[in-house]
């Protein structure tokens, strides 16, 4: 019974996180400016990382933890690179 | 000792990370210690300015204060997003600061940005003024005095 409740809670939170990823993707696709898109990407990978952690709880495997760590590392580097590009890549549009 | 391990805290953190990622076994303790010693030496070529950190109760109090503030401002920002009050207006504030140590400023930047509702934008090293963006700006002087009294005093105690 409690196992079923926990399964329900985890599935519900996965749906919520999926919706959050949808919101972030909307902001990434719509803009209106380049920094809004980068912000959307930043939120997207963070939420994706959290979603993987809930999969880890669901299956009880630590494999998902390592995937989440790699996503956090690569996402940080990617966003920093994009931010730097916005500063340096184009001086005046 | 100082020449063998130039950055003891960094070496310890690397060692702890290695053990957390691989699990505790004699082989990994040896390997992790080796990695921590060698990798922490690469910082030597950067020649960082030695930080003066005073370890004491001020650190614990700062950590507790920041945790409580993060929880409180999370609630506040969530309420703003859900209700979206029309009379809310965001704005920039200028915070004159007495902090000079780059480490203290870095910690203050982390604190201000990590609490939802306030965002560190820029630090003017000549005028010693920090530009902060606030989501729900009611009273500018209140924000300035709050940040100065809550965080800056403790940071001064720790770093300077």
């Amino acid at each position: 019974m409690t196992s079923l409740l926990l399964a329900l809670a985890i599935t519900a939170s996965q749906i919520l996180l999926g919706l959050a990823m949808g919101c972030a993707a909307f902001r990434m696709l719509r803009g209106p400016r380049a920094q809004d898109r980068v912000l959307g990407l930043d939120t997207l990978y963070l939420t994706g990382m959290l979603l993987l952690l809930t999969y880890g709880i669901q299956t009880g495997r630590t494999l998902y933890f390592e995937t989440a760590l790699v996503i956090a590392l690569l996402g940080f580097v990617g966003t920093v690179a994009l931010g730097k590009f916005l500063m340096r890549g184009e001086v005046i549009e | 000792m100082k020449r063998l391990v130039p950055f003891p805290l960094l070496a310890l953190a690397l060692f702890a990370m290695w053990i957390l990622l691989t699990g505790f076994s004699p082989g990994h303790v040896l390997l992790g210690a080796l990695v921590a010693l060698i990798v922490s030496r690469t910082m030597l070529s950067l020649r960082p300015e030695p930080p003066r950190v005073r370890i004491g109760w001020a650190m614990v109090r700062l950590a507790g204060l920041v945790l409580a503030d993060i929880v409180r401002s999370n609630m506040a920002v969530a309420k703003i997003i859900l209700s979206n009050p029309p009379d809310r207006h965001a704005g920039f504030i200028e915070l004159p600061t007495d902090l000079r140590s780059p480490y203290a400023l870095a910690v203050l930047a982390l604190i201000i940005t990590a609490t939802p509702g306030s965002l560190w934008v820029q630090h003017d090293a000549n005028r010693h003024v920090i530009l902060i963006h606030v989501l729900d700006l009611v009273d500018e002087t209140e924000w300035v005095t709050q940040i100065r009294e809550r965080y800056e005093r403790l940071l001064m105690e720790i770093f300077e």
Partner: protein
């Protein structure tokens, strides 16, 4: 895919509440990305999922794995430490890029010192 690990009742309730609460808070933050006007306001919304949302889900994961493996599992702290250190860095960098772009745009129209206050 409805499955869950077998936990004692008290732990199942705590883990469920933590994960659900963290996910809900992250969703509110992401909603802020859509609802709030202007770039500088939206930056604040991202912090919601990156601080409290992340902390709640990681705490739930730590509790769950500690009980399954019957020993304290703390490697989730690595992710928490890493995210709390890196998210402010990326946000500050983005805000600085945005303010730089706003100022250079404004300077091309009118020469001013650039308060850079744009809400669209």
């Amino acid at each position: 895919m409805m499955q869950a690990p077998d936990l004692p009742t008290w732990a199942a309730i705590i883990v469920g509440l933590l994960v659900l609460g963290g996910a809900a808070l992250t969703l509110v933050g992401a909603l802020g990305l859509i609802r709030l006007p202007g770039f500088y306001a939206r930056v604040h919304a991202t912090t919601l999922g990156a601080t409290a949302g992340m902390a709640a889900i990681l705490l739930g994961s730590m509790l769950c794995f500690s009980i399954i493996q019957t020993r304290p599992v703390v490697h989730e702290i690595l992710i928490a430490l890493f995210v709390t250190l890196t998210t402010p860095v990326t946000l500050i960098l983005l805000a600085r890029a945005a303010i730089y772009r706003d100022r250079s745009e404004k300077a091309s129209r009118v020469s001013s010192d650039g308060g850079a206050e744009r809400e669209e």
